[in-house]
Amino acid sequence: MDKLCLEHIGYTYSVGTPFEYTALDDVTAHIRDDRITGVIGHTGSGKSTMMMLLNGLVKPTKGKVYLDGYDINSTAKELYSDWLKRPEYQNMRKSTAKKAIKAEVQRRKRGLCFRVGLVMQYPEYQLFEETVYKDIAYGPKNMGLSEEEIRERVLYGARFSGLSDDLLEKSPFDLSGGQKRRVAIAGVIAMKPEVLVLDEPAAGLDPLGREQIFNEIRQYQRSTHSTVIIVSHSMEDMAEYCDDMIVLAHSKAIAEGTTAEVFAQISMLDEVGLDIPQITQLIRMLRKRGIDVPENVYTVDRAVELLRDHYQALKGSQT
């Protein structure tokens, strides 16, 4: 089922000034429940802007964003005529019902950032508390939870983002870059969002750090069955970790579907200036040399498997 749905989204920065810039232009995309969706595109293609639309940080200039079928930017006024017919409001006085609808819309707006948890690009710069524990607790505290629940949430967040317990009482400013990034991710996971959005979670990390972070994210998704969105400009990571993909190029969404479907259109990916995974390029070259392997291979594991089969077959035919 579609968890999030973007319909004909347009977003323009600095409207009415000489610096007007259309970051998103008629983007329609669907994000399915219980899957990891990768949003990929070259730098400046509008990925971060799109992510900020999902939790209501910015409002689209055009189009609608639906979360579980509810337009997240709808106002009480737009909803009156529809909602007044609902059973829960029908037997109220009209003015009371209107007030109740207004309160409900307000409540949903306020709760949106807890339902769609966004880890922004380079989130390590948002840390501010004296200890890692307190920093992770900032989100849950804003949710108005009890001290007990906050504690449980902090440990939950720390566990999923791979922070060891002895770090919790340290100052976040004394940590390494990778650890800071984890603290920021933990701070969002601690809110137990239905949708977890990570904007370039591995940017600027070393290969080992990248792999660890992506593995943790995958583990988180597989055990919570929540919806996860990862933004990246690296096809290699996307191929490895995502179930679905959305491709952005020059402010437009040019492809969406399962990872396999999107990678099947590899020539198109070439054109929008994204690097094709090295393993895919290798397999293509082998095919050019006349080695009979399928074309669209995009993870090393799959390639190893195929080449081994090919080798076995070759050996079999020789003997």
Binding site: F19, V119, Y125, Q126, F128, Y138
Partner: protein
């Protein structure tokens, strides 16, 4: 491109944009002098025309300039009213209306033609002053070019041990980082909002407290940036202005000199026009 988009700078390619910033500073000072030289109807008409001419020349949209005048409307109205009611002259326009105040006191409203003229002149003067300075400087010169120009113009002060270069360098760096810090503030605010921060509700103290999660990371990153910049400058052997050469050397061109001479001529013209008493001359 975004990094210079603060203040009022409007990017365009006009003769005024291309001018040497030093020439523009001098032109602005001269223009201000001209607005104060004006005394009679002819001069103010010429002044208004010159403001329109500069605006067209700068290719800054008229709408933007009118918008910058809008906040001044209160002041303009106030000045006009004072001039209309307080100027005493010879040509009385109204019969002596008398408004009783208290006891035997009355307020005599008398509006003179001179008052109306003065009000009009003041409005033209203030508007021309604003248009002239914004079109010659703020809309067409980046803040950094402006500090550069001021450093050069004030460099003679180095002789009396005024640290002109250091002041200019500090101003340039400060100006350069304003947009960066504004971006950063926006980013951090968004990040905290994503964790449920609420900057708009509650009393003064609650709101001030809500800003802490923004101010602390902002300060930390500002200090880090400052240290990094200082190291970067030291690595490039920066040691003050002594013997430093420039990447962008300012060249005073013939057209710049010509523009300054033209404005001087305009000032002289106004000086003589003041003697031609048509319609009304201010005292």
């Amino acid at each position: 491109m975004k990094s210079i988009a603060f203040g009022q700078y409007y990017p365009a390619n006009s003769p005024i944009h291309r001018m040497d910033p030093r020439a523009k500073v001098i032109l602005t000072v001269l223009y201000i002098v001209c607005t104060f030289l004006c005394r009679n109807t002819l001069c103010f008409a010429a002044l208004l025309l010159s403001a329109v001419f500069l605006t067209v020349l700068s290719r800054v949209p008229i709408g933007m300039i009118l918008r910058s005048i809008r906040p001044l409307i209160v002041i303009l109205t106030f000045t006009s009213l004072i001039n209309v009611f307080m100027t005493k002259g010879e040509r009385l326009l109204t019969p002596s209306w008398e408004i009783p105040l208290w006891g035997a006191h009355v307020w005599r409203i008398r509006i003179f033609a001179e008052g109306l003229w003065n009000a009009l002149f003041m409005v033209v003067r203030i508007v021309a002053l604003l248009i002239g300075t914004s079109v010659l400087l703020s809309y067409t010169t980046t803040p950094i070019a402006l500090t550069d120009a001021l450093e050069r113009l004030f460099s003679p002060l180095k002789k009396i041990k005024v640290p002109v270069h250091d002041i200019a360098m500090m101003t340039t760096i400060a100006l350069r980082f304003i947009p960066t810090l504004m971006d950063e503030t926006q980013r951090i605010m968004n990040a905290q909002k994503a964790r449920g921060a609420d900057f708009t509700s509650g009393g003064l103290i609650k709101r001030a407290k809500a800003l802490l999660p923004v101010l602390i990371p902002l300060l930390v990153s500002a200090f880090n940036r400052a240290y990094e910049l200082a190291s970067a400058m030291e690595c490039r052997c920066y040691h003050g202005g002594e013997g430093r050469t420039r990447l962008k050397i300012l060249h005073l061109r013939v057209s710049d000199v010509f523009a300054v001479l033209l404005l001087v001529a305009f000032g002289v013209g106004i000086f003589f026009l003041n003697r031609v008493g048509i319609l009304y001359t201010m005292k």
